[in-house]
């Protein structure tokens, strides 16, 4: 298998460059992460994050042949060669495929992603019907890998003002939770020309989400809730 990988170590490199690799012992049932781990045995300086190997921890988001995805659940079969790997777009590169995700995490914190219950808490669980709980499906499963936000042109243009699909999906997760009692404040906080409304339904986020989630729909649901609130 042939690969072209973005390399950059600011300590030693004046500027980024693409490095070609050739790997012979690749079998068809491998995932891209397996290939990267083999490459790393040849070249220990190659930097990338990884942990769970099964698409739940969200560590190994990267740009694979032009599309963001998780290396650990991307099968090597079907990848056009040379496989071109780059860091996720628009975030500062720390080294090679490793990006600084502080901005992304800040957006997440900005939507106050935690359940807010104002009533006194019961000594048992807060009740929720299966139908109410079903509304959280497609929202709570986010793994914060950053694939969606860093593929979003609105984020590229306004990374400091637009909250991005991942954070807005989280906002929708709490607005949609029947137990949460801060809907009003949440909607108010998002009612701003940039935070929410810079989504132009380009839908890159939907296309790349490795968990099959739909941030564009979540953003639409927030907009609907705002309209409902204003009426």
């Amino acid at each position: 298998m042939r690969l072209r990988i973005y390399r950059y170590n600011p300590e030693t490199d004046k500027k980024p460059y693409m490095q070609d690799y050739q790997l012979d012992n690749v079998s068809s049932d491998m995932m891209l992460l397996d290939v990267l781990l083999l490459l790393k045995e040849q070249d220990s300086s190659l930097g990338f994050r990884r942990s769970c190997r099964e698409g739940v921890c969200g560590s190994d988001g990267m740009n694979i042949n032009g599309t963001n995805g998780l290396a650990c659940i991307t099968p090597v079969t079907g990848l056009k060669e040379p496989v071109e790997l780059r860091p996720m777009p628009r975030l500062p590169v720390i080294r090679d495929l490793i990006v600084d995700m502080d901005q992304f995490y800040k957006q997440y914190r900005d939507v106050k992603p935690f359940l807010d219950v104002k009533d006194p808490l019961p000594e048992v669980e807060l009740k929720q019907t299966p139908e109410e709980r079903d509304k959280l499906d497609g929202l709570y499963e986010c793994i914060l890998c950053g694939c969606c936000t860093t593929s979003c042109p609105s984020f590229w243009w306004n990374p400091d003002k637009f909250l991005g699909p991942a954070a807005l999906l989280q906002a929708a997760r709490f607005i949609g939770d029947s137990r949460d009692q801060a809907t009003e404040e949440r909607l108010q906080a998002l009612d701003d020309p940039f935070k929410l409304f810079r989504c132009h339904t380009i839908m890159n986020c939907v296309q790349v989400c490795p968990k099959g989630l739909n941030p564009t729909k979540a953003i639409g649901d927030i907009k609907k809730a705002m309209v409902k609130k204003s009426m």
Partner: protein, 592 residues
């Protein structure tokens, strides 16, 4: 850089590890207005708690009759009577509250029609002290760990906990009296080293599943906290007990939750026989994990395995209604489609026992204080040092952990450790002075890898690969003296080889080669503890199955192992058989 120039930061409490145990403790401390620092080598939601699937046990009785005392009985029996009954009583009594707290923190538990939390049957659960199957495992579909870890991180955002994300802890720091006073850490991004001084230090670094070649565990599960404890002179307890999960995807290791069997799935051999009926006539596929893993191993060994190489068995879910699969087991369904190209709604899943959970660990009491033998006292607390979760050994799991008890363990004991720390902080208001020698030692450990004169040294990758193979071959589901003795010899050789290993990458920026070298050192210490402890225990108990000593021997072996790095010495201490308030469960033959 001189040691005096290394920046120092001061906190009341330091927590190493940001999985469920660490984050639960951090939240408790932050809410008590303690200044708390959480150091984690990965961003918190990347911790391995995120991969837990099936759920968390608590006798809520939402689905079937239940009470904490039955839960306690099952846990004691599941532990093959090596669990400490005071800690088990404490955990089972605290379980409902722990679940309700998590629910209030926002965990999106699956729900019953009456709006209460959904509970599913899991292995080793019974009503009425060994009667009918119970349904005790509270679940958020099959993503319970993800739901819990994310909710805890979110609550810590609310509480403004101070995180050191992507910092690596090298070693614990002490004063001359041996009190633990923080840790030597470095920023993985920049390589900057800092000393974190803390009045208390909680180790919550998880397990060591990377000991084995095929494992359900993440690549980060390298037993870092256990290695730190050993180097600080703390022994590790019961390391011979390593759990092999019955249903990892054959050859690959991805976990298929026990909840798959809890929802009605079952195992078959090459003849299509539901073989668990022979091994566990009552509980069948929901017997304890050690029992099911041994049964699968035996089926394959005796030639009844599936596939061209007859090297696995099949987990059947294709008889379940598709909406059950989609609503209760969507995660494992997707995993099968991704990694096998198999939809379990149509075809069975090839599975085989896979390394999964470290029952042993850093010995603690039920307040999370690390305890060591001092003279005639088997359990003397080490001032300032705490441990919780998979890296710790309370011991609630004894020789075999029940499914659904590990998420419970991390939350109950993360919380209880934090409560003890809060108390300790009230009585100990000032930072003590560090012993500069311990700083020097940590510094030396880290900078040993800067040595480029040894550039022909062996590669870290080669040694790690060899270690995982040796452990798989010599410390697996079934063991004998010959195989374990060989394992001790082989791991000792590898430990020697590691001393001469070197790395070529000397960059300060996100140097993953250096991280992997430090991780392998931890893993090596844990491997030695595991194989030395296993070779000495001449009985079969829970996950430690000896072909040459097939029976449990309560007379000689109802005791905890303690392994120390110094001279690789073994010591033992009694099991705490006396519960807090109820009558002790005496050892009985373990039948499912």
């Amino acid at each position: 850089m001189n040691i005096e120039d290394i920046p120092r930061r001061r906190f009341d409490a330091l927590i190493i590890g940001a999985g469920g145990g660490g984050l639960r403790a951090a939240l408790q401390l932050a809410e008590a207005d303690a200044s708390v620092a959480v150091v984690s080598k990965v961003f918190p939601t990347r911790s391995h708690t995120v991969a837990a699937q099936g759920g968390m046990n608590a006798a809520l009785a939402n689905v079937l009759p239940d009470n904490w005392h039955w839960h306690m009985f099952d846990t004691v029996k599941g532990s093959d009577y090596l669990g400490d009954q005071d800690a088990i009583e404490y955990m089972c009594r605290a379980a409902p509250k722990a679940v309700y707290e998590m629910e209030h923190f926002g965990v999106p538990f699956s729900r019953l029609d009456n709006g209460k939390i959904y509970q599913r049957p899991f292995g080793g659960q019974s009503q009425n002290f060994g009667g009918e199957q119970a349904a005790r495992t509270c679940a958020a579909a099959d993503r319970t760990g993800h739901a819990i870890l994310h909710s805890l991180y979110q609550q810590n955002i609310r509480a403004k906990t101070h995180f050191f994300d992507e910092y690596f802890a090298v070693d614990l720091l002490k004063d001359e009296q041996g009190n633990v006073l923080g840790a030597y850490v470095f920023d993985i991004h920049s390589g900057e080293e800092i000393i974190i001084e803390a009045k208390t230090t909680l180790i919550a670094t998880g397990g060591a599943g990377q000991l084995f070649r095929t494992t359900t565990n993440a690549l980060i599960n390298t037993g870092d906290g256990m290695g730190m404890a050993l180097r600080a002179g703390v022994p590790l307890q019961d390391m011979e007990f390593f759990q092999f999960h019955p249903t990892g995807i054959a050859g690959r290791g991805m976990l298929i939750t026990e909840g798959a069997r809890g929802e009605g799935g079952y195992l078959v051999n090459a003849q299509g026989e539901r073989f668990m009926e022979r091994y566990a006539p009552t509980a069948k596929d929901l017997a304890s994990r050690d029992v099911v893993s041994r049964s699968i191993y035996t089926e394959v060994k005796e030639g009844r395995g599936c596939g061209p190489d007859k090297d696995h068995v099949m987990l059947k879910l294709d008889h379940l209604p598709e909406d059950v699969l989609q609503s209760r087991l969507p995660g494992i369904r997707q995993t099968c489609i991704t990694f096998l190209g198999i939809d379990p709604a149509d075809k069975p899943i090839p599975v085989y026992p896979t390394a999964h959970y470290t029952m042993g660990g850093i010995p603690t009491n039920r307040q999370g204080q690390v305890v060591v033998p001092v003279k005639d006292t088997p359990e003397e607390p080490v001032t300032g040092l705490y441990a919780a979760g998979e890296c710790a050994c309370v011991s609630v799991h004894g020789a075999n952990r029940l499914g659904g008890n590990s998420l419970l363990d991390i939350l109950v004991f993360g919380r209880s450790a934090a409560n003890h720390i809060i108390q300790y902080l009230k009585e100990n208001r000032f930072h003590k002075a560090l012993d500069e020698n311990t700083i020097q030692k940590a510094y030396d450990r880290l900078h040993r890898w800067d040595d480029t004169s040894n550039s022909n040294g062996e590669s870290v990758d080669d040694i790690r690969r060899d270690l995982q193979k040796v452990m798989e071959d010599n410390c697996g589901v079934f063991r004998t003296q010959d195989v374990l003795d060989n394992g001790m010899e082989e791991v000792s050789k590898l430990a020697q080889r590691l001393k001469n290993a070197s790395i070529t990458d000397q960059s300060e920026l996100f140097n993953t080669a250096r991280i992997e070298a430090l991780e392998l050192e931890n893993l090596m210490d844990v491997a030695l503890a595991t194989v030395y402890s296993a070779a000495a225990r001449t009985e079969s108990r829970g996950a430690h199955s000896r072909i040459d000593y097939a029976e449990r021997d309560d007379k000689s072996w109802m005791k905890h192992t303690l392994y120390s790095s110094e001279d690789r010495k073994l010591d033992y201490k009694p099991v705490r058989t006396k519960p807090m308030s109820v009558v002790s469960f005496p050892p009985k033959p373990r039948v499912y």
